[in-house]
């Protein structure tokens, strides 16, 4: 088989050489995209493009360029360069007449190219990214130059076709691929690359000892099946979805949308094909009879920011959200930057001003409108909670006389009430005159504010206990069906002081035991401090004393009721299309100003993209289907490039956010197309298959050693002449430290948590009670992606490592290397605790002798054996630190060692050792 293949390749090569020979004897045809467009973009298009059309001449579209100009002359006459005004003007002797004005004339070479191009007929070209991907074999790729054609030798290096594209290019540049990376390096690269966490000791040993032929492939399969896989790729996607736990604008309060994060993690873990992944997020709510998960997916575009500031115009910020949805969709799926088209036609790419507003019309008809409560939303049990609930209800059903439970979520709420009568204020059906705190933990209410709960049956309730803190004295009134409805009872609240501590219970006795449609808890202050107020946490309904049910007598009930208490209805904003009669008209905004609407617009895609196929998308679902249609040239390329960027540190198209003419051209265009086609067709959009294809390649498995020859010829590794080496992401650096320190809580899914953060970092305008409340021990060691993401003050130790605010989409995190990063990994509480935990692990698991402990430490942290001189260096550090700490006292030891081990000089010295290892360049980098 291989022989046949070689034979075929070599005959193709011969054919190409022959064709090249024929071509060479004619004049080379000038290529518009690679040779002409760059000259025009650099020198001409800022005055003759989409924004300015000086002299009535524009070079953006072919039809415009070939038209007459204001002067009546033709700038370009195909075939007749010397009659073309453009050539006359750029070659003009008089600097006043010469183009471009007030600058140096064009190079002779450039003028010659333009002249020849016009003489050859001024053939226009479509930008590469708008042409469908083509399958071109490695041997035929443009990077193959004739010098290397002679010897595409028996290629022992390539493991798959991907490698051949890389190899051909390296051959052309006279570079050799790097040696394969050591197994120990490879396993760390693979684990962190695919799951964001380093391998466990067991995994390292399993792989290092496996000498079989399939050892690496088996490892790859194991890692692809690892449940942390989804977390890593979700982190990447959440930057694009601009997922955050708050609303963005002042006062930037909580938004309950973490279930969307769960959905993304699950989608990657289950390898949901990228076409479905796309359709459900952009149009999940428009699918016929959408299920709960599809509705949650539609929260993708509910991650836009909203503004709750008093006096702000809801329509202004609804418009801003729709504009963000348009820009986001084009950037994320099409690598197309539309921001400039908001105000005027694109200066470089083929998009007209109205194209933006055709897209705007697609997104302009959802029900949300910058409301304070984020309506419309979906209330339901999170999948993980639903499972727990199912388990308990089916357990209850094993008892005689057990009630029957229905599957529907709202019914479940009643069930919960009936078996454990407890409500959380944060999950009220409505909160007015107040706001809900992170994770619905409690509600903060101002004077005259209220909470509303629907369908509460008070007929079996004797009293209601309300957990609260209050700055002022006040009353809570219980009212039936309306905020000023029948008064059912009230309770006087004593001030409790600081709103943050010292929770009290107030007991309210309803005067009537009746069923209500809605139950209102209305707050009125009696003290004289204005504005703030009251926090309400939980509301307990104490029922009539009755006989305990069978299952309540069971031993396990106490634990089960605890679990039940922790389960709450979750709420997530979703997309919902307005009914036909209520749909909003859309207009073009003159110069991007929404207060200045121009022509009315009909939903559609940009004119220049209509040629892809016959589809005419006019709503979000159709748009999503068009994006993943096989004829769309961009979607697959953009996603393949994104995956590549994660694994190699930069994409084949380095500007992964911009595939337009201002972006970089692909380093390996044929490889990009090959993978894009394979992803769509062979892999049916399976991201896991795509990743496997890439990581199985010899290209990925190269060592990252940079020889001076490679630094010279390929300083930024564009040619991939060596393995990837780049800094880990903010989340990965944190997760790795916790992992190495043995502290990480590796639970998957669930609401956001608040790990340690410097005091006073959060100061919230006019809402000093909104505080960072550090999570409990286990919770605070969850992975970085579960960190509570407040857009206006994102978690500082992660932003220092370049994690974005997620106010808008971030396609590419730019990696920096700044001194405050060193301060984080040396001094931040999280890293201090990680070093303490790590030191303790070293002592407990690393053996008796310090040499052995150091060896163990390096293996845990870097997956490898010590190299020359490493042990002596670290041993020297340990001994010096030991000497240092022997001179200190117990208090110092306690501070350094923390709660992890006995306070003594040896343990303190070991913490210094651990901290040094956690700060090595090698651990901060993917190697």
């Amino acid at each position: 088989m291989k022989k046949l293949y070689l034979l075929l390749t070599s005959s193709i090569i011969t054919l190409i050489i022959f064709m090249l020979y024929l071509n060479g004897s004619e004049k080379n045809e000038i290529d518009f995209n690679t040779q002409i467009k760059p000259i025009l973009n650099k020198n001409c298009i800022s005055c003759h493009g989409g924004v300015k059309k000086n002299g009535g001449f524009s070079l953006l579209f072919e039809y415009e360029a070939l038209d007459t100009t204001k002067s009546g002359k033709y700038a370009i006459i195909p075939g007749k360069a010397h009659e073309s005004e453009m050539i006359k003007r750029i070659a003009h002797q008089d600097p006043k007449e010469r183009m471009p004005p007030e600058s140096e004339p064009l190079d002779k070479e450039e003028i010659k190219l333009l002249t020849e191009w016009i003489n050859q007929g001024a053939k226009w070209g479509t930008h590469w990214a708008y042409e469908p991907p083509k399958l071109i074999s490695p041997a035929n790729s443009a990077s193959t130059n004739s010098a290397s054609l002679g010897f595409i030798d028996s290629d022992d290096w390539s493991a798959n076709q991907l490698d051949q594209y890389i190899k051909v290019r390296l051959d052309g540049e006279g570079l050799k691929p790097a040696k394969p990376a050591e197994k120990a390096v490879l396993i760390r690269r693979l684990y962190i690359g695919l799951t964001g966490l380093p391998p466990t000791m067991e995994e390292i040993d399993l792989f290092l000892k496996d000498d079989s032929e399939n050892a690496y492939e088996n490892l790859v399969d194991r890692v692809l099946g690892n449940p942390h896989f989804g977390e890593k790729w979700a982190t990447v996607w959440l930057d694009l979805a601009r997922y955050a736990d708050t609303k963005g604008y002042r006062p930037d309060t909580y938004r309950s949308v973490w279930m969307f994060r769960d959905w993304v993690i699950r989608a990657f873990n289950e390898d949901k094909p990228f076409d479905e992944f796309t359709i459900e997020q952009l149009g999940g709510d428009l699918l016929p009879d959408p299920d709960q998960e599809q509705l949650i997916a539609s929260a993708y575009h509910r991650n836009t920011m909203t503004n709750d500031e008093g006096g702000s115009d809801d329509e202004e910020f609804r418009v801003a959200a729709v504009i963000d949805r348009v820009s986001n969709t084009w950037e994320v799926w099409q690598g197309t930057t539309m921001a400039c088209v908001q105000c005027h036609s694109h200066p470089y790419d083929p998009f007209k001003h109205e194209d933006f507003y055709k897209s705007y019309a697609i997104f302009n008809n959802t029900e949300d409108m910058d409301r304070g409560d984020d309506r419309p939303y979906l209330s339901y049990y999170a999948k993980s909670d639903m499972e727990k609930l199912d388990e308990i209800t089916s357990w209850i059903q094993t008892f005689p006389k057990a009630p029957t439970f229905e599957k529907e979520a709202t019914v479940k709420k009643k069930i919960k009430q009936s078996i454990f009568p407890y409500l959380r204020a944060g999950l009220a059906n409505e909160v007015r005159g107040g706001n809900v705190e992170p994770n619905n933990e409690f509600v903060n209410i101002r004077n005259k504010g209220f909470l509303r709960f629907d369908n509460i049956d008070l007929s079996t309730v004797n009293s209601i206990e309300i957990g609260y803190t209050s700055e002022v004295g006040g009353i809570i009134e219980l009212r039936k069906d309306k905020r000023d409805g029948e008064l059912l009872g009230k309770v006087i609240l004593e001030p409790t002081g600081d709103l943050d501590r010292n929770w009290q219970h107030a007991r309210l006795v309803p005067q009537k035991q009746i069923e209500t449609e809605s139950l209102y808890f209305v707050f009125r202050k009696t003290g004289d401090r204005n504005y703030r107020l009251l926090n309400v946490k939980d509301i307990l309904f104490n029922g009539k004393q009755g006989e305990k049910k069978q299952w309540q007598k069971d031993k396990s009930w106490e634990r089960k009721s605890d679990i039940l208490a922790g389960i709450n209805i979750a709420r997530i904003p979703v997309m919902k299309e307005l009914p036909k009669e209520k749909q909003r008209p859309s207009y073009l905004f003159t110069r991007g100003n929404w207060l200045n609407p121009g022509d009315s617009m009909i939903a559609g895609i940009p004119g220049s993209m209509k040629e892809f196929n016959d589809m005419k998308p006019s709503n979000r679902l159709e748009l999503a289907e068009w994006l993943v249609s096989p004829e769309n040239p961009l979607t697959s390329r953009v996603m393949v490039n994104r995956v590549w960027e994660q694994l190699f540190g930069k994409g084949l198209v380095e500007t992964s956010e911009d595939f337009g003419t201002q972006g970089n051209t692909p380093s390996h265009p044929e490889l990009l197309d090959y993978l894009a086609l394979k992803y769509m067709n062979d892999f049916n959009w399976s991201t896991k298959n795509l990743i496997k294809e890439i990581v199985m390649s010899s290209t990925f498995r190269q060592s990252s050693v940079a020889t001076s020859e490679k630094i010279n010829k390929d300083p930024y590794n564009y040619l991939i002449s060596r393995g990837p080496r780049f800094r880990l992401s903010a989340e990965e650096i944190r997760d790795q430290a916790l992992f190495v320190g043995g502290l990480i809580n590796d639970e998957i899914y669930g609401p956001s948590v608040m790990p340690a953060q410097p005091d006073h970092f959060w100061k919230v305008p006019l809402r000093p009670h909104i505080k960072w409340r550090e999570s409990t021990n286990r919770e605070k060691f969850r992975r970085g992606l579960y960190t509570y993401w407040r857009r206006s003050t994102p978690y500082p130790s992660m932003t220092i490592f370049d994690s974005p605010s997620r106010q808008v989409c971030t396609t590419r995190r730019i990696r920096t290397n700044i001194p405050t990063q060193a301060l984080v990994t040396l001094n931040d509480t999280v890293y201090v605790e990680a070093a303490q935990g790590f030191a303790n692990r070293i002592k407990k698991e690393g053996g008796k002798e310090i040499d052995a402990q150091i060896q163990f430490a390096l293996k845990v942290a870097l997956s490898r054996q010590p190299r020359k001189n490493e042990i002596p260096e670290l041993l020297g550090l340990y001994e010096d630190a030991l000497k240092h700490y022997q001179e200190q006292d117990l208090e110092v030891w306690e501070n350094v060692v923390g709660n992890f081990a006995a306070p003594n000089a040896e343990n303190a010295a070991r913490v210094m050792l651990a901290s040094a290892i956690l700060n090595l360049d090698e651990i901060i980098m993917l190697n």
Partner: protein, 490 residues
């Protein structure tokens, strides 16, 4: 060749100024390489002198100012109680506002027909220039001759967060770099051990627009402002953990350095050199920053000049800190003092209470700052800018159609007063005029984009040339607007 010579020669080999900026996106760290490739290369014993973590371009022309202190009164103080004296308003006090002023206008809270609010405070002419300054600022009245008043500043935004974003990023929505980021992107810093762009906030809150007003937007994060506290730890994560002193920290860093050098000799990745440098700089910053941020060493007469009391988070302490930081070559210092949103809805947010307190909190300190900079010869090349994100209406506020319980005014974007001092700006000038009730500017208006263009101009930068490409287009601080206000330049 030691490792730093190696770094320099490697750097020289394939880094040019422009290339460096590009290399930010290719994984080679910004700090070490950037700072060496561009501005002020000189080799000391170690072979490395760098200007902190910043790469920078060169000024476009000779600068008049080397640094900026921006005093932002967050919440928007009333110009009509401070600098813009309108006797006509006193006559109209309590009368309904002429409908012509309300037509087609958007207000934050005013509804229906509000009444005119006369000046709540008395004014006097001050100094040689005869500038009108109200009784609320007795200290400032004595330095009024040092400044240029801009009496007809106007903005596009009428709500706090968007207007603050507009002031600092040139646009009302999130995502663009702030002025300080643009400045350090353009000029770098003069101190290798301190950040080039520092933010100090005082008052009860943070600015409404949050950290975005000192964020780097789409510029690399090295250019973002570092928020320092005048109480507690001055820079996040600056202090060593408990039980770790600088002697043992140095020892740990030596081992990290030795192992990283080994790593470099094995893998040859320049990024490793950048990291070695990063750790060394972090250590230096730990050494220098606490000293720079410590005002207790200042002599008594300085404390009396500013009205400072060490250990608290106050505007006065921040003003003194600002002076210490400009002395050390920090490029852009932004002070926020919050609590100026005098709607009249509460005591705190009213002209007759909270506003007067705010004036007391800032008056002596900002005047002391000007005098102190002057006596040290720093005012010549330090530009001090003072103002809010917008002004306040000549009408009293009537939220929900009812009179407010305290004296107050609503947000007013059409005309308000700011002032500038030092940094090549004229002394004792009043520039611009408003109409007789202070509603619109009628002469020499200055738009926020003009102000931004002028600040950049004083620093030696052409606002139209200081650009950065993002999402396929060149962005600049002044969007596509802005004219340098030449008339106020000395």
């Amino acid at each position: 060749m030691n490792i730093f010579d190696q770094l320099n020669s490697d750097t020289a080999k394939y880094q040019t100024r422009r290339h460096f900026l590009k290399s930010l996106s290719t994984g080679v760290g910004a700090m070490a390489l950037g700072s060496m490739a561009g501005c002020g290369i000189n080799n000391n014993a170690q072979g490395v002198t760098s200007k902190f973590n910043l790469g920078s371009l060169n000024p476009h022309f000779a600068p008049k100012a080397k640094r900026v202190i921006f005093l932002h009164m967050e919440g928007a103080p009333s110009q009509l109680e401070l600098f813009d004296y309108k006797p006509e308003l006193a006559k109209l006090h309590g009368k309904p506002c002429p409908p012509s002023l309300l037509e087609g206008k958007r207000f934050a809270f005013i509804t229906g027909t509000p009444k005119i609010q006369g000046p709540y405070l008395d004014f006097k002419q001050r100094g040689q220039s005869g500038a009108m300054v109200s009784e609320a600022l007795p200290y400032f009245s004595q330095v009024a001759d040092e400044v240029t008043f801009l009496k007809a500043v106007h903005t596009d935004e009428f709500n706090h967060a968007p207007a603050q974003l507009f002031m600092y990023t040139g646009g009302p929505r999130l995502g663009r770099p702030s002025m300080g980021s643009w400045v350090v992107y353009g000029l770098g810093s003069e101190n290798e051990n301190l950040p080039g762009f520092i933010v100090l906030a005082s008052g009860q809150d943070n600015p409404s627009a949050g950290k975005n007003v000192w964020g780097s937007g789409f510029l690399p994060t090295v250019y973002q402002g570092v928020n320092c506290q005048s109480a507690g730890e001055p820079i996040l994560y600056l202090s060593n953990p408990k039980g770790v002193d600088s002697r043992i920290r140095r020892r740990v860093l030596n081992s990290i350095k030795n192992l990283n050098e080994k790593q470099y000799s094995e893998l040859g990745d320049p990024e490793t050199l950048a990291r070695i440098n990063q750790y060394e700089m972090a250590f230096k910053m730990q050494m220098e920053a606490p000293e720079a941020m410590d005002i207790t060493e200042e002599p008594d007469y300085i404390h009396q000049l500013y009205g400072t009391s060490p250990g608290v988070n106050s505007f006065a302490n921040n003003c003194l800190l600002a002076r210490r930081l400009v002395e050390r070559g920090v490029r852009f210092i932004q002070l926020f003092h919050t609590g100026w949103d005098s709607h009249g809805t509460t005591e705190y947010e009213s002209i007759n209470h909270g506003f007067l307190e705010r004036c007391k909190e800032v008056d002596q300190a900002m005047s002391g700052l000007i005098l102190d900079l002057k006596q040290r010869g720093l005012l010549e090349d330090t530009l001090v800018v003072w103002g809010g994100e917008f002004g306040r209406t000549p009408m009293m506020e009537n939220r929900g159609g009812k009179d407010n319980p305290f004296v107050g005014r609503d947000h007013h974007p059409y005309a308000y007063t700011m002032w500038m001092a030092g940094g090549g700006v004229k002394q004792g000038l009043s520039y611009g005029e408003t109409d007789e009730i202070g509603y619109y500017g009628i002469k020499d208006q200055v738009h926020i984009h003009d102000l931004q263009a002028t600040i950049l101009n004083q620093l030696g930068m052409d606002h139209e040339k200081l650009t950065y490409q993002f999402q396929g287009r060149d962005f600049r601080l002044t969007d596509v607007h802005g004219k340098v206000v030449k008339d106020i330049l000395a």
